[in-house]
Symmetry: C2
Subunit: 222 residues, 2 copies
Amino acid sequence: MWVATRARRSEALSRERIVEASVAILDAAGEAGLTFKALTERLVTGPGAIYWHVANKDELLAAATDAVVAAALAVEPAGSSAQDQVRAVALGLFDAIDEHPWVAAQLSASSWQATAPRILESVGRRVGALGVPQRRWFTVTSVLVQYILGAAAQNAANGRTLAPDTDRGEFLDAVATTWEELDPDDYAFTRTIADQMREHDDREQFLAGIDLVLAGITAGEA
Amino acid sequence: MWVATRARRSEALSRERIVEASVAILDAAGEAGLTFKALTERLVTGPGAIYWHVANKDELLAAATDAVVAAALAVEPAGSSAQDQVRAVALGLFDAIDEHPWVAAQLSASSWQATAPRILESVGRRVGALGVPQRRWFTVTSVLVQYILGAAAQNAANGRTLAPDTDRGEFLDAVATTWEELDPDDYAFTRTIADQMREHDDREQFLAGIDLVLAGITAGEA
DNA sequence: ACCTGAACACCGTTCAAGT
DNA sequence: ACCTGAACACCGTTCAAGT
């Protein structure tokens, strides 16, 4: 009753607990849901207590983003070949951003600078193992990371657009139908691929993109 | 004096003028700068007048984004080969987002849905011209678009981080130095490429990425 | 050192009233 | 049909006061 109660009721406030609560709120309610009111209610304090540990809301978002990325990269990727490991790291980030869609917006914001080395390092080591000559490491790794984050961001954005209860099949069908109804003169191509969009799988397509880039790297151009 | 004055003083309010003013404010002051106060001052009205033409702020941001993207894609890309045209379209978008960095955040937000067909169409036509078999059009085009937007978004984010008066060389040097001071055990790779980051050119690297993807497409994998 | 909570300036949005 | 501008609810941040 004594010690246990104290621990359960209100563990001392800390940066870690604040970031943890922020991630939970962001997951549940999105970026718009993360307010100091929501935070203080969840942590049972006043705003001043939070400002003691964190400079402002931007820093909070950056810290929450870094926490999610760090967790995603902490999983040691299975797969023996360097190619498989690149795919595993890429998919790990893709899934993490898919589960925490608000991360996408943050990664193309200023919090980027703190998290960049983590991602560069994890992808870059495998680029080295791929046999890419050292003078191309920076370029090749940057391209891979840009593709990974770009694709993951758009996937997350698509997911966010949906109301939580919508059927994915219905949604894709609705988008495809919209595309098919576009002006044939201006949108001939988009109309043609509408049907392929109807049946595509996001993760499969993401991996196809990784394979495309890997094929380009192996082809040894650029 | 009579008609001219009326025209100069306050051209009738319209959705178009509101979007135009929004783009100008976003360019000058970023996303945080676009407030209804700033808009009403610039357009010399009250907030109610703006709400008559536009549903809410989100719609305003989406419309501003679409205007910038449409303008970037309206330029007919020079270059004879399909490969050159892909590069030209890609670079057009890259530069547009570089000039209007706030577009980056919007393109991975929900406004995406309205602008997507424009970009798909423009890139996709050249993918067709590349000789890619039709069943792969959707995948290949999506990969290209994801890379283009992902890379452009990160480039824009990097630009935004800088104070407007900072020297680019100094900034890159500072980041590279930070990387070189990372823990050698955890960041062996990142330390190795720090020097390449110091001297890289963003546009060149972006095009190298396009070439990598194009090489992958030509290699015929995936 | 850490926390409280009232207070401040500001923001998006609404709406009754005007023309 | 289009515009005005006061009013509302809410938000991030500060700070004097407490322990």
